[in-house]
Symmetry: C2
Subunit: 469 residues, 2 copies
């Protein structure tokens, strides 16, 4: 733990002014440069002295910031000076690399120092064969916990929870409870609440540590516990767990199995990771990116990006086919070719606005029967008003440019129609996808721009073909 | 507090099966329907009995889910049965409406029951005149705290922090500390750590409640406190605070003024709101939405959306001007008009992928001197490889369609160039904006699509003009 190795001891080797900055972030550019210098110079002792006082999160950040080669040198130089907890802070790609380098023996030795949720997090990243080796090398009791956790589906509460917790019966007194905690018999390192269970292991209440500390020794746990508790089923999806935590401002919650018996706890810090992960997933999905990390390899990146671009190519060709229907019209009035991207682009952008708001609202469970109708009404009104405004604007521009009133009128009408279609489909596409069980974040954008492109080109060129030829 | 009004008392009036579901979410469809029935029927007593056991977050959700009229009736029916904390959970727009209806007297009476950060959150939403009235009606001590907090910039740590906290000197013993907490002299309702300060009020350490509970009574606070603490300056931006919490898995932190003296604490639940807010802001900004709430009014919505569409119109006209340069070329080879949107659309999508990853990485501070170069290298490689792949694919398609080898070749070259430009500008645009102090999330998308549209049309039509005429 941090207090055992005061950072001053080491920082004295660098500039004293660093002390100011390092009070917030441990890994300042100066510290980083000093470490890299020691690594390049092969100064093992100095590298260790600089790295070991860093917070595990800073150690992880260091490994992520340097090149793959430097990372390998650092890991081998540091050896046991690398805090096992730092591994849990690593990005997936770097974690795999570091685990590979450490080897199964070192991993198995490091794991028992960690909370069970962190152990599971690392175990998830190991190859099946390596995982078996690591599990064999672990103490039997720890091994069972990890194996149990890995039996739960990925991204479930069972994978997020830790097994270390403080459980007390309701009939204990505050004094008894504090004495129990002082005796050191509880396995949890850090905890934010006590869980109160009945004799068969069902949670019946929770005690905040602040309540415990404020209550006199003779008072019974049953008198100070909160009974309005929310225990999460072990199979619940992590996104669902995060929504519960956010909604009720929870800091910690108990996890129960199918029979309602206590099996673990989930704390806020794990939930924050999930919130970040889910927000990033939605953001990337809307932009058509399979993996938003800046650290994945070129082949992974290529695969994730190209598949989406392929879908987009099909969409674009579809739009071109629509244009192709009107080749004869364009041949006669080239101004149409000049103006047509405006209609499609405005529709695509207006629709993306609606889609993004709708996808976020779906993710945050903000739609009720009432709010969805009121939102739809407002979107349509905005689509209509924006449509009228931009119809006049674009029509006017086109008239100034080409001095052709008919083309300007047709552009205006097409713009109005496309912005209304954009509002409508910007709402219906994500709602429809959600209804049929497809993640609206993933497929909404591409479906929407297909609609607005096709409608935009078709209405504009179609009207021109009918009225101008 | 929840434990004083056991939910069973009220839920007995609804179906017993509700008890299962309500163990996780208080506001089930059945409970909601029962409340609305009571409201419609004007059954004040029943409405209160159903609403008051709900968690404040559920009360807030109820007010958000119903129509504006029903919300007004609910608020007037409930009166004091509405938990003041529920107001803090409301969405901005609904909060303004409810505060308006409550009036300044009722607000002033409700506020002292809340933590100071929640009071500030409500005060921020009041009109200046109303705020003055509310402040006048509040106890002097509370008023000063609110006025001080409002003096800090919006979105700063000073606005997020609460003033209620537990502060102890380092020379106290564990026993003394627990006796102090039991005496009820501390003002904090709920707290996750003790803050240890020196005689002049500078934080020198923090004590986790779990450490306090595990230590014997005679041990000194100075022996069990962690000294490797991160105190946040009161003017720090909330986004910065959220990054610190995430990075170090913090649950609570002290806030200090310019002289480094303790002025408040920020807890994880406030930070989660900020994380959500910032993630939503980036998501919406990338899509060109000023306010992502589904509850803002039509005029607000219109203003937020139209300004972005106007920018997009200028962009689209710019692209059209480029096309206009080549009217003569298009007139001779109409196939160009049919194919040109494909080049622009593919460039826009590929660039959006890169922009989104870069914007997220910037927001999460993931770029270092090393990682930004390695990311740039990978993006360019992917742009080149995707460019080659889609050049062949699109060129082939065009040949099958128009049987014109020259047009197909030009399409292929334009596609390759545009996808490389997309990768390059997808990275340079957000980095450049960040460098000049503009939020990359807000302006990157529009700048990028301008570039890919202009380059796409210019290269494709320009090559055609040079080689085909």
């Amino acid at each position: 733990m941090a207090e055992e190795t005061p950072p001053e001891a080491t920082l004295a080797e660098t500039e004293p002014s660093d002390l100011q900055v390092t009070s917030l972030y441990g890994l300042t550019p100066k510290v980083e440069a000093a470490i890299l210098e020691a690594v390049e110079g092969g100064n093992k002792r100095r590298a260790r002295m600089l790295v070991s006082p860093l917070h595990p999160a800073d150690q992880a950040d260091l490994l992520e910031r340097v090149s793959a080669d430097q990372c390998a040198v650092l890991v081998s130089l540091l050896g046991p000076a690398l805090d096992p907890e730092a591994i849990t802070h690593l990005d997936e790609e770097i974690m795999e690399r570091v685990l590979d380098q450490l080897g199964t023996d070192a991993i198995a030795r490091a794991l028992p120092a960690l909370d069970s949720d962190d152990v599971v997090h690392i175990a998830e990243e190991l190859e099946p064969a390596d995982l078996d080796e690591v599990l064999q090398a672990m103490p039997a009791q720890e091994r069972v916990l990890v194996e149990q956790a890995l039996a739960w589906p990925e991204d479930s509460a069972g994978r997020m929870m830790q097994r270390e917790m403080v459980v007390v019966p309701p009939f204990w007194t505050v004094g008894q409870t504090i004495d129990f905690l002082r005796s050191g018999d509880s396995k949890a390192n850090e905890f934010y609440m006590l869980i109160v269970t009945d004799p068969s292991g069902h949670p019946v209440g929770e005690v905040r540590l602040s309540s415990l500390l404020r209550s006199p020794r003779p008072r019974r746990i049953s008198e100070i516990m909160e009974t309005d508790i929310r225990s999460v089923p072990v199979a619940m999806d992590q996104e669902e767990v995060a929504l519960l935590f956010r909604r009720y401002g929870m800091v910690s919650t108990s996890v129960v199995d199918q029979e309602g018996r206590l099996v673990g706890v989930i704390t806020m810090d794990d939930v924050v990771d999930v919130i970040d992960e889910e927000a990033e997933e939605d953001l990337m999905a809307l932009a058509g990116v399979a993996d938003g990390s800046i650290r994945i390899s070129v082949p992974e990146m290529l695969r994730g990006r190209a598949s989406w671009l392929l879908v987009n190519l099909i969409t674009a060709v579809l739009a071109s086919l629509v244009i192709g229907l009107f080749e004869a019209t364009i041949e006669k009035i080239v101004a149409l070719a000049v103006l047509m991207p405006i209609v499609a682009s405005m529709g695509g952008n207006a629709g993306t606005q609606t889609v993004t708001v709708a996808v976020r609202a779906l993710a945050m469970r903000e739609f009720s029967a009432k709010t969805v109708w009121s939102f739809a009404g407002k979107e349509l009104t905005v689509g209509l008003l924006n449509g009228l405004f931009f119809a006049v604007l674009a029509g006017g521009l086109s008239w100034v440019w080409f001095r052709d009133l008919e083309v300007a009128t047709i552009l205006a009408v097409a713009m109005l129609v496309n912005l209304i279609v954009a509002a409508l489909s910007g709402l219906l596409v994500p709602l429809g996808l959600q209804r049929v069980g497809v993640d609206p974040a993933v497929a909404s954008s591409v479906l929407l721009t297909t609609i607005t492109d096709v409608v935009g080109f078709f209405v504009f060129l179609g009207l021109a073909a009918v009225f101008l030829l």
